[in-house]
Amino acid sequence: MSDRARVVGGVLVPHTPYFTVKLAAEPESADARCFAAVRGQLEELRPDVIVAFDCDHLNTFFLDNLPTFAVAAVNRFGGPNDHSPGLERRVVPSHRGLGEAIHERGVDAGFDLALVQSLEVDHSIMVPLHFLTPDHEVPLVPVFVNGLVPPLPTAGRAHALGRAVGQIVRAYPEDLRVAVMATGSINLEVGGPRVSEGELWGAPDPAWMDHVVERLRAGEVTRLVEEATAEKLASVGNVAGELLCLLAMLGAIGDARPDFLEPQPYFGHAYGTWLLGEGG
């Protein structure tokens, strides 16, 4: 027993909408194998709660009211609320107290998180859960980072938000094992001019992907934060801002080196786990 929550690890997965159908048909594919590997390691972490850094795709929020950072303080939420082939709407439990703590203590710490007390989420959360916690039994607290609509928060700001969230979790007065999830791509354009011929997506900058993976393996998160400027992210692809969720997750877990990291260069995304044992 502990009188405080603990951060027990982090995971990184993509949320490619059609993977729900594609990977069911290709159980031996590299992506299916990676999702299974991350799921297995996440299960070994035995999380009581998952805190997820997520870039909504203009489905939970829209341009009438678009937060740079937001956190859900709810008992449960539903999703997906967008077109996600192969997914039925599900209800996911959350942890309202932890969400409230992240809101209150986050604002106290200088991070002006918008408060969300009712929401539906899109594929960016429901696809990862489909593969990682298919019974939807683990409560999940979504923390939203605007990674899609410029101007994005800076990489330094996203990373610092993650660090603050990690501190808030560790001060939370309940015996909880908390895993931190980041979901998104690293090198990806969706629906913009750099899509591949005949496709609605492309992976325009494989060299950036290689570079990010190298930095992650070396634990050089500070240097990656410095390199991930607004100009750099915009040049990589219109969804490359999802890296901000990964940087926030790394901030929350203390910039550890990954225990498992496997890029899938063709798709421009990567899978990873960071296992902190009991003392994170």
Binding site: H57, L58, N59, F62, L63, D64, N81, D82, H83, L148, V149, P150, P151, V190, G191, G192, P193, R194, V195, S196, E197, G198, E199, L200, A230, E231, A234, N238, V239
Partner: protein, 93 residues
């Protein structure tokens, strides 16, 4: 980001089934509900995502129009047209 009216087409085609059906069946009537410039309206009616992108519409919302088969767009045609747009500044006006 400006062009709220254009972006709201991409939003509503996903989240508003009645609007989606109207946009497919009678696009002029569907677009009448929105505040659009003449240039935006003409580009929408033509499925001209090259121009819409240049005007500052968010590509992630434009692609939803193609995924739902509205305004004469399908994924292949969308891909061809958006590739012709060329990169835009990181922060559209």
């Amino acid at each position: 980001m400006s062009t709220y009216g254009v972006n709201s087409v991409g939003r509503r085609v996903v989240h508003d089934p009645a609007f989606r059906e109207l946009l497919r069946a009678d696009p002029e009537a569907a677009l009448d509900e929105l505040e659009l410039t003449d240039e935006e309206r003409a580009a929408l009616m033509a499925g001209d995502v090259t121009t819409l992108y240049r005007l500052g519409a968010h590509e992630y919302l434009l692609v939803s129009i193609a995924l739902h088969g509205a305004l004469g767009l399908d994924p292949k045609l969308f891909s061809e047209r958006i590739r012709a747009a060329g990169p835009r500044r990181a922060r559209p006006a």
